[in-house]
Subunit: 148 residues, 2 copies
């Protein structure tokens, strides 16, 4: 039913909260963690877990619904749409490259040597895998708002 999600909101990033939520749901669907029919957190539940206003979640869910990715059912909850399309491999690549490029630009401007960049990325990837294992507890949705 409800796969364990790991949503992360960075308030200081400047990126609208509803957009951060949308992207992450997209990625979960694209990666196959969320599958058609799966129930996702209720608006209130997610709002509480992430410490944001319910209206913000509403906006994200509404947009996702308009994109055909999820369905809201009054009084029942929200679900991944039956025909929710996973991102194509190409689209996944674009999304990933987008982040990678920003990192690269930043590193270049900071004049950080490439090997250092790579090692930091490795560390952060490793840190997440740790989280994933630790997360085999009765927590449905884990949240990190600030930094680790």
């Amino acid at each position: 039913m409800s796969p364990k999600l790991h949503l992360q909101i960075d308030e200081r990033s400047g990126v609208p909260v509803y957009r951060q939520m949308m992207d992450q749901f997209k990625y979960y669907v694209a990666g196959g963690t969320l599958r058609p029919g799966d129930q996702i957190p209720s608006i209130r539940e997610l709002a509480a877990a992430l410490s944001v206003n319910p209206t913000t979640v509403v906006k994200a869910y509404t947009e996702l619904e308009r994109a055909g990715l999820i369905e809201k059912r009054h009084g029942k909850g929200a679900f991944v749409a039956p025909n929710a399309q996973a991102l194509t491999a190409a689209e996944q690549d674009v999304a990933l490259r987008r982040s990678a490029k920003q990192l690269a630009v930043e590193a270049t401007q900071l004049q950080v040597p490439s090997p250092k960049v790579i090692s930091v990325v490795r560390e952060e990837l490793g840190a997440l895998y740790v989280d994933r294992t630790v997360e085999d507890l009765p927590v449905k949705f884990a949240v990190v708002s600030g930094d680790s």
Copy 2:
């Protein structure tokens, strides 16, 4: 005087434009590419180069000035502040980690294997170095707004 800068604005990222500009100037100063006394692009010039409204650049410059990083002189232009502090190594690390973490989160949600992530990062880093060499032309400020 005016070192060759390479500013990059991603309009679709959701991050406020003025914030993207601020960050990149910060990074250039932190990395030593921009040094105290250096003249930076005029408000109009930068606005034209990036295809944004001058007021947006004003906001970025005003904030940077308030942070003590640059100085605006009426009728003359904008310059890196005499006592502009480069970021400490620790602060640089924080900034870099921030981007790296976001990339890691995204990759994890997309279930992209780590080696793939690393290789993409390497590619993007490489692409930027290419740009840097190519940029030995009479262009003072090069801009990339969309994707490469």
